[in-house]
């Protein structure tokens, strides 16, 4: 029930932002379409803690702040190596251990790795990721497990 409510809320906000019309006709059309989407989502059985991860809301801002800092640092590093040229890069492929239990935790970790420039998750296994990195240092950073620890901490809110 909580998940249905948050889905309805986020759909309404999305609709209001995208339309910008406030006439009664438009609002009622919006209400009808939101109801229709909710009905379809229920029939598809996708309204659950995975599509609406509201249990993460409390911890997410802290993690996002840290991730944004990491993304900016990684961007500066990659741009530096783009201008330094091909001699300075050391492409590496490696397997990274994963300590998350749930699917959503793994998705957050894999997406965070890919979102950070210089590292891309290529394959996701049961308890390890295959990661390609532009620089050896990025792999060393991942293997030190800082990001893994933070995602696991975020996930443990469930």
């Amino acid at each position: 029930m909580r998940h249905t409510f948050t889905l309805a809320l986020s759909l309404s906000v999305f609709w209001l932002i995208n339309s910008g019309h406030n006439t009664p006709l438009m609002l009622s059309l919006g209400a009808i379409s939101i109801t229709f989407v909710l009905y379809i989502a229920h029939r598809m059985d996708v309204v659950d803690h995975e599509s609406q991860p509201i249990h993460l809301t409390q911890k997410l801002p802290g993690y996002n702040t840290w991730l944004i800092k990491e993304i900016i640092l990684a961007n500066i590093l990659v741009v530096k190596h783009i201008w330094l040229g091909n001699k300075s890069i050391s492409p590496t492929m490696s397997r990274i251990k994963v300590s998350q239990k749930t699917d959503i935790g793994k998705v957050i970790y894999a997406n965070s790795i890919t979102l950070t420039p210089g590292t891309v998750t290529i394959n996701i296994g049961k308890d390890e990721f295959l990661v390609h990195a532009l620089l050896q240092e990025s792999i060393d950073d991942l293997q030190s497990g800082e990001m893994d620890r933070r995602v696991t901490q975020l996930e443990s809110q469930c």
């Binding site: 932002i17 990659v78 783009i82 201008w83 091909n86 979102l115 420039p117 210089g118």
Partner: protein, 112 residues
């Protein structure tokens, strides 16, 4: 106040454009598919953010601002998924990455 906002916005746009150019240079310069993808990820994270932040400062009303925020969030959610799908497809079709000489001995996946 107006001068401050327009200067800040120009600064963000300038940084964003520089990052876009860097990303483009990386695509041309780097040796293989996987390393080029890293260059693109600069364009799709910080460069997009900077350009959209610059536009947000210039936005005339709240509705435009909110739409720009939605574009930013969508980009940040969709781009890693697309990158992963691309890299995964390349690996499945046996495109071998050019690895660094000293890392050559590392285990290559037999069948990812």
């Amino acid at each position: 106040m107006d001068i401050l906002i327009s200067t800040g916005s120009s600064l963000f746009l300038l940084i964003g454009s520089f990052l876009c150019i860097s990303g483009g240079l990386g695509i041309l310069r780097f040796p293989d598919f996987y390393t080029r993808m890293h260059a693109v990820s600069v364009t799709e994270t910080l460069a997009t953010t900077m350009i959209l932040l610059g536009l947000m400062l210039l936005s005339p009303d709240i509705l435009v601002l909110l739409k720009l925020i939605i574009i930013l969030l969508m980009t940040l959610f969709i781009s890693p998924t697309a990158s992963h799908a691309l890299a995964h497809a390349a690996m499945r079709n046996d495109l071998k990455p050019e690895l660094d000489q000293k890392n050559k001995d590392e285990v290559m996946p037999s069948n990812p």
